[in-house]
Amino acid sequence: MDMRDTTRRQAMTVATLGAAAAATVAAPAMAQDMTAMPAGTLPKGGKQNPRDKYAKPPYKSQSQPWPGLASRMDPRPDHGETSYVGSGRLTGRKALITGGDSGMGRAAAIAFAREGADVAINYLPEEEPDAREVIDLIRRAGRKAAAIPGDIRTESFCRQLVDRAVGAMGGLDILVCNAARQQSIPSILDVTDEEFDRTMKTNIYAPFWIIRAALPHLEPGSAIIGTTSEQAYNPDPDLYVYAQTKAATMNYLKSLAKQLGPKGIRVNGVAPGPIWTPLQVSGGASQGKLVTFGATTPLGRAGQPAELAGIFVRLAEDDGSYTTGNIYGAGGGQGQP
């Protein structure tokens, strides 16, 4: 297996990157590069070829039980741990991020903290190892961190979550509804009621419950951000359940933007393309999709969570004060918006 993976990788890199640069890149070295070397090696404001910035397909075939851990992915996703540099764009703000232990939620948590915000993250108890790292990163940024594990599939927990976040930070003015369930199931005949319900509860009910509970705490100038997807606009056939929740997310964000604009609260969405997160290796993508993840995009690779951090910051910060009811994308050149 390992032999084959190495051969495959080398074959592809020779063909894909050109022999000289890539033949030496074995999997472990690439994994180290991912955490040690990404965007931050350049001074802020520099430029890199986006095609070459991160590992390209083929990726190693890998599988974890739901919900998966970023720390066990190969290569490890880049959430901006070593690269994100803040400049006070969210000074004194107080953010709650669901699914803040890994993926785009983690990238947002790291960025928010380095921009000066206190950050509470919610995650599933199984995700504690990833969450510990995020809590540590937030504290090392000199900000307050709150870890609030729990499953958001009940209204009572969602209410508790908001209360505990408000209690821990002394308020709330940025809410990121990011946590989601995604499973690749090619046939509707294989979609159980339980799976359908679990996805709806996590992706649709929970943001409803959380936003409803949070609203009394949100003063004018607050921001709500939802994670939608390219799947909202161009659904894959195997993501029938997930994709419709992302379409609903895109829609509820626009509805709430109209409803809450008069209260001075902005509501926006982020639409990722194929991003390298634990959700994909824990049933969200088939192995066939995973190994060539992002090869369908004009940029030729999967995106990394760190590449969306700035979007979350933009939608949360006061400088973005005229942006509401909008969806910002990072799709590698494919999909909408």
Partner: protein, 173 residues
């Protein structure tokens, strides 16, 4: 399929008479060929990597391994040819035209994955063969043309293999 085949043939023929741009070396015909052939190699390898991770069919797995081997070789040969001719190397990514095929394959599982793979492989190799043949016949850059001439029988043999398998129902038994 015939429409697609004709379209590719007409496109490539049209390009033969086009003049070269001031920006990039090589005629438009050659630049278009290098792009199409390079993207085709990348597509074949990407589909094969997905197949190795997804399929359990021994015949399909063997074919996918051969695709990675052969298209890595044609890709290298094309790159060498462009270097000798002082041209830009081929782009190494799946093209916009074939990305939807890969996306469709990525969403399949089990026997449906296998069937989709074989079906796409027939189409992809028909397209690739047209592209290689036209340039092999009247390409204007000798080193690149030699690469195309060498690729034609290889692509032809791939096409014969996938057509034979598809004729048996694509179950690979």
């Amino acid at each position: 399929m015939i429409v697609r085949l004709l379209a590719v043939a007409m496109l490539v023929t049209c390009l033969a008479s086009a003049s070269s741009s001031a920006q990039e070396p090589g005629s438009r015909q050659t630049r278009e060929f290098v792009q199409a052939a390079g993207e085709s190699d990348a597509f074949e390898m990407a589909e094969a990597y997905s197949a190795l991770a997804e399929s359990k069919n021994p015949q399909l797995l063997a074919f996918a391994r051969q695709m990675i081997r052969d298209h890595a070789a044609t890709s290298r040969a094309l790159k060498d040819a462009t270097m000798r001719a002082g041209l830009k190397p081929p782009p190494m990514g799946v093209g916009a035209g074939q990305a939807p095929f890969l996306a469709a394959l990525q969403s399949q599982h089990g026997i449906d994955f296998d069937r989709t793979y074989w079906r796409q492989q027939v189409l992809a190799h028909i397209s690739a063969l047209v592209v290689e043949r036209v340039y092999a016949a009247n390409g204007d850059t000798p080193s690149v043309r030699a690469a195309a001439v060498a690729a034609v029988p290889l692509v032809q043999s791939h096409l014969a293999m996938v057509e034979a398998i598809s004729a048996k129902g694509g179950d690979g038994s």
